[in-house]
Symmetry: C2
Subunit: 145 residues, 2 copies
């Protein structure tokens, strides 16, 4: 019943946000890149990338500067962000199941035997996605585009 | 940009499939339950549950029998199935990102530094979701509805 034929799959916006963040982290500190160039380098459609960058700016991971030497620049918080932080900024917090929404306890929680399994699955997933920063990913030796 | 405000979230069909499987595993072996009763017990709309049960039947986890003592019955393969098996049956295989589709290697794989992180995240998630069978979940002491 899934449109894409897969379960628990990341939305494209979050995947593209990750690409953009890794690419921005490869640029020397203090440098900026214009939207068309970043779109080309990440192979993301420019209009889609523009919306994604707005989300990343709102989350304080990226800054957009106008003017002749303008463009997009990754902020220190963006360099130290993990994959899960970037996903959350682009597409909302990671919650494998509706029963894991903070501050809104699931009504079935007290008698649902699957709840602890979802909690441990969420924990394992976040652990893996938080294992490296964007900066570490961007500077890996094999990570040349 | 996510419609539900969360990332990597399970579709409702897979969540409902899990509920149905756990409920079916609570019924004594050889017994059956009719659709309206199962819909009431799981709090899933009857027409939606009917479609989900079709998927579970196709996957060989459940059988549907006609006649006076007819209804839905969990099969041995359903009792020993794990959460990930039920999710796959209802909603397609678990793939956290498009780059993890088997037999269709991602064109960015060779230079994408995020790929190994996605592989380890997928591995950690499946490990957690495969940690218990439906039967084990259904017979937990606190799992009374």
């Amino acid at each position: 019943m899934s449109k894409c034929g897969s379960s628990l799959k990341l939305n494209r916006s979050a995947d593209y946000a990750l690409r953009a963040m890794i690419q921005l982290a490869r640029i020397p500190e203090g440098s900026r890149v214009m939207l068309p160039e970043l779109a080309r380098e990440t192979a993301v459609p420019e209009s889609f990338l523009s919306k994604i960058l707005q989300s990343l700016c709102r989350a304080g991971l990226v800054v957009s500067c106008r003017g002749q030497s303008g463009g997009f620049e990754i902020l220190p918080a963006g360099r130290t962000a993990t994959i899960s932080t970037v996903i959350s900024a682009a597409d909302g917090p990671i919650r494998l199941n509706a029963c894991l929404v903070e501050g809104k306890p699931c009504s079935r929680r007290s008698h649902c035997p699957a709840h602890p399994v979802w909690e441990s699955a969420q924990h394992a997933l976040l652990n893996a996605l938080d294992s490296q920063t964007i900066e570490a990913l961007a500077t890996q030796p094999h990570a040349s585009q």
